[in-house]
């Protein structure tokens, strides 16, 4: 295990030395043949769903995990992204490549709207406010005929480049996978820069963050809008995937719980964790399709169990493994220095 970790860390460093983006390019190349390994179209379909869920979970992780804002409105932003893209495609015949940025822009503005209550509200109160927003969006869609109301909005055209149409799951993978990689790369880049540190500082202690020069409101807003960009991207990709159909039932509290499960199980405030969570939960949800009666109960129990027994999720455990190694190393180094000093002092005395 140790050797494996060392080996992979070393090869990662080697790639980074060539170019900082090299690991990402390598991941892209590694992910390219994945659908060819799939046993059937259903598994390719699942790959697409996993990619979309990774984007969605990464977005939620930014606002909830990194900036510490307890939001349950993320699924509503996902809905706004999906419906913006869908309406533009169905009602105005706008091609995907314009629907996508429009969906992202609209969702980003909606994200700012969800973020504003966070200036004054915290914790459970913020959760309630964002829940109210999520419910309002769902109900609004349900009663608005223009959006297809309870019949849903269908006939959303698949994306195309020239004559090449992404109409099946195999082709769609080559659209959704690069978007997923770019989204994950962007989150890594941003969260490992000063912006990510500011998010974490706001999460850890808003007052202290402000005293350190972080404009708390500004960064809360940035976190909400950034997470909304992810939700908008995921929503648009979901809407245009075969069969190009969106319905308010896809964006309820149950979807929000599943999304929370991904982030909580994977690891709050840990991008890798969120990604692992999205993959695991999608696969587990698929394997337990037959036990639909107990699925939600199970999901709920896993959330409670994770929060109680491993609050930092799977990602946290992996992190912990490296942290404890570093800590032990640091302590040993200091102790050794002290011993050396003591020895030097002794020899000086004698």
């Amino acid at each position: 295990m140790n050797a494996l970790v060392q080996k992979s860390t070393a090869s990662l460093d080697a790639l980074k030395r060539i170019h900082p983006l090299m690991p990402w390019f390598a991941s892209f190349v590694l992910l390219l043949p994945l659908p060819l390994l799939a046993l059937n179209d259903y598994q390719i379909y699942l790959l697409n769903v996993i990619c979309i869920m990774i984007i969605l979970a990464t977005g939620l992780n930014i606002v909830k995990g990194f900036c510490g804002q307890v939001t349950v409105g993320h699924v509503a932003l996902y809905a706004i992204g999906a419906y913006t893209s869908g309406v533009l495609s169905v009602k105005f015949g706008v091609p995907f490549w314009f629907c996508l940025p429009a969906a992202i822009a609209v969702t980003m503005l909606a994200g700012a709207l969800v973020g504003i209550p966070s200036f004054r509200l915290e914790g459970a109160y913020l959760a309630l406010a964002t829940l109210g927003f999520a419910q309002s969006v769902e109900i609004y869609i349900r009663v608005t005929n223009y959006l297809g109301s309870a019949s849903g909005l269908g006939g959303i055209a698949p994306p195309s480049i020239g004559n090449f149409v992404f109409y099946d799951y195999f082709r769609y993978y080559y659209l959704v996978m690069p978007f997923m990689l770019i989204a994950v790369y962007a989150s890594f880049a941003i969260l490992r820069s000063a912006t990510g540190r500011a998010f974490m500082a706001v999460r850890e202690d808003a007052l202290s963050a402000a005293a350190t020069g972080v404009n708390v409101r500004r960064y809360k807003l940035i976190a909400f809008m950034l997470s909304a960009v992810y939700a908008g991207l995921a929503g648009s990709l979901f809407a245009h995937m075969v069969p190009g159909y969106v319905h308010p039932n896809n964006f309820t509290v149950i979807e929000m719980v599943t999304l929370l499960l991904m982030v909580v199980l994977g690891g709050i405030g840990n991008i890798w964790g969120g990604i692992i969570g999205a993959i695991l939960v999608t696969i587990i949800a698929d394997l337990t399709r037959d036990f639909y009666f107990y699925q939600l109960l199970m999901f709920g129990l896993v959330i409670v169990g994770t929060v109680l027994f491993m609050p930092k999720g799977i990602g946290g455990i992996i992190d912990r493994y490296f942290v404890s190694k570093r800590f032990v190393a640091a302590r040993e180094k200091t102790a050794e220095q002290k011993r050396a000093e003591a020895a030097a002092a002794k020899s000086g005395e004698s």
Partner: protein
């Protein structure tokens, strides 16, 4: 921990592989339905039990049917996932689904693309069969028939002088205005009286007195449960004679309405594909079977439709020439599609015959077009219902020309 994750992934892959080892001699059928409510669960059980019974009786031409049943919770994304799993992973020959129109609608596109026959147990949305898919069949009655049946019945059997009294809730407005426009379209008549009142209005007497003076053939009341009950009672209080037919929108089918309205509900009817007060021997037998098997005393049309669906599938499968090996999956799917299209004049629990045909049009694929009108014979807590009439709609009814 990492090792655990690897283990889990391996398990996931292994089980996918396991599902892929298919038994050749089986007819594989996948069903995705909404099985979250108590009744929803029972519809699924009925489909399963009926297929089990076919297998127990020797199967289809010596082959057994392997049914896989999944819940879609009335969510289109789950329904699409289920359909994809059935089609691409379990390689089903036939897909049954779904309960909700919002799930059936997107699945129609999935089955059309994958070329797998899909037969629909419960969804009524008219668009389902209007997408031009050659692979979809519908057992229940399309919404386009339901929409016009009241107008047709009223115009043909009751009269053309109709007064309308309706509340401002969305359903009432759309039902009342819909009926008005259909009366205009079918018979060229305008309402003799039309009044919209507040959603929570409870005193309708001034309107009812004016209506009485006009002596119409019928009065149509569309409102929420309590206002509807009050309007019905008040219509007798103001002396509107019993000869004026009382009509109401589908809210009347809710049990509190006859309880509140008492005998003022008499004659009011609503529409469905099946009534448990049907006195045909097959219906009586079916009602007692459902009660015995599933403990349900009020058998609604979703039970009868699930049952009819299995019978139609059985007929089609018996008529299809199936190879049931891996090389002929595509051919078998096509054969089953054509066999379902070949079902004509199936007589089952549905109130009229069900027929399909080959064209990918709503005329061919909305097989059931006989609506049953269920009328109240007695009001109160222990209300009684009876079949008022059966109306078979013209094939092309409700289609845009």
């Amino acid at each position: 921990m990492k090792r655990h994750i690897l283990g889990l992934t391996a398990a996931a892959l292994a089980s996918s592989v396991a599902l892929n080892s298919l038994s050749a001699a089986e007819i594989r059928v996948g069903a995705t339905m909404r099985m979250i409510s108590e009744n929803g669960q029972k519809y699924g059980e009925m489909v399963q039990d009926e297929f089990d019974a076919i297998n127990a009786a020797g199967g289809i031409n010596g082959h057994t049917i392997k049914l896989s049943l999944l819940n879609d919770e009335c969510k289109s994304d789950k329904g699409v996932a289920n359909a994809n799993k059935f089609i691409h992973q379990e390689k089903v020959h036939l897909l049954i689904g779904s309960t909700c129109s919002s799930v059936s609608l997107p699945i129609v596109d999935v089955t059309a693309q994958a070329e797998v026959p899909q037969i629909i147990p419960h969804s009524t949305n008219h668009q389902i069969t209007q997408k031009g898919s050659a692979w979809v069949f519908r057992v229940p009655i399309s919404a386009r028939y339901y929409k016009g049946v009241v107008a047709k019945y009223v115009g043909d059997k009751v009269g053309k002088k109709i007064a309308y009294l309706y509340a401002s809730d969305a359903a009432a407005v759309s039902d009342a205005e819909g009926l008005q426009s259909q009366m205009k379209e079918l018979y060229g008549v305008d309402p003799v009286y039309s009044a919209q009142v507040q959603e929570k209005e409870i005193d309708f007497r001034s309107h009812l007195l004016k209506i009485k003076a006009l002596s119409p053939d019928a009065i149509f009341i569309a409102a929420l449960q309590e206002p509807m009950a009050r309007a019905l009672v008040q219509s007798y209080e103001v002396g509107l004679p019993a000869s004026v037919k009382r009509l109401a929108n589908s809210v009347a089918s809710n049990a509190p309405v006859p309880a509140m309205a008492g005998d003022a509900i008499k004659g009011v009817f609503y529409t469905a594909a099946y009534s448990d007060s049907d006195d045909r021997p097959i219906a009586k037998l079916f009602n007692s079977m459902v009660k015995q098997r599933y403990g349900i005393s009020k058998v609604d049309h979703d039970f009868s439709q699930a049952y009819d669906l299995v019978r139609i599938v059985e007929i089609a499968l018996r008529n299809a020439d199936l190879k049931l090996d891996d090389d002929n999956l595509k051919a078998d799917r096509t054969a089953i599609r054509d066999a379902i299209a070949g079902v004509k004049d199936y007589q089952g629990l549905a109130s009229g015959p069900i027929s399909f045909c080959a064209d990918p049009t709503p005329e061919c694929r909305d097989g059931n077009r006989t609506v049953v009108l269920i009328g109240y014979k007695k009001g109160g807590e222990d209300f009684e219902l009876g079949i008022l009439d059966r109306v078979t709609m013209p094939v092309e009814f409700g289609l845009e020309k």
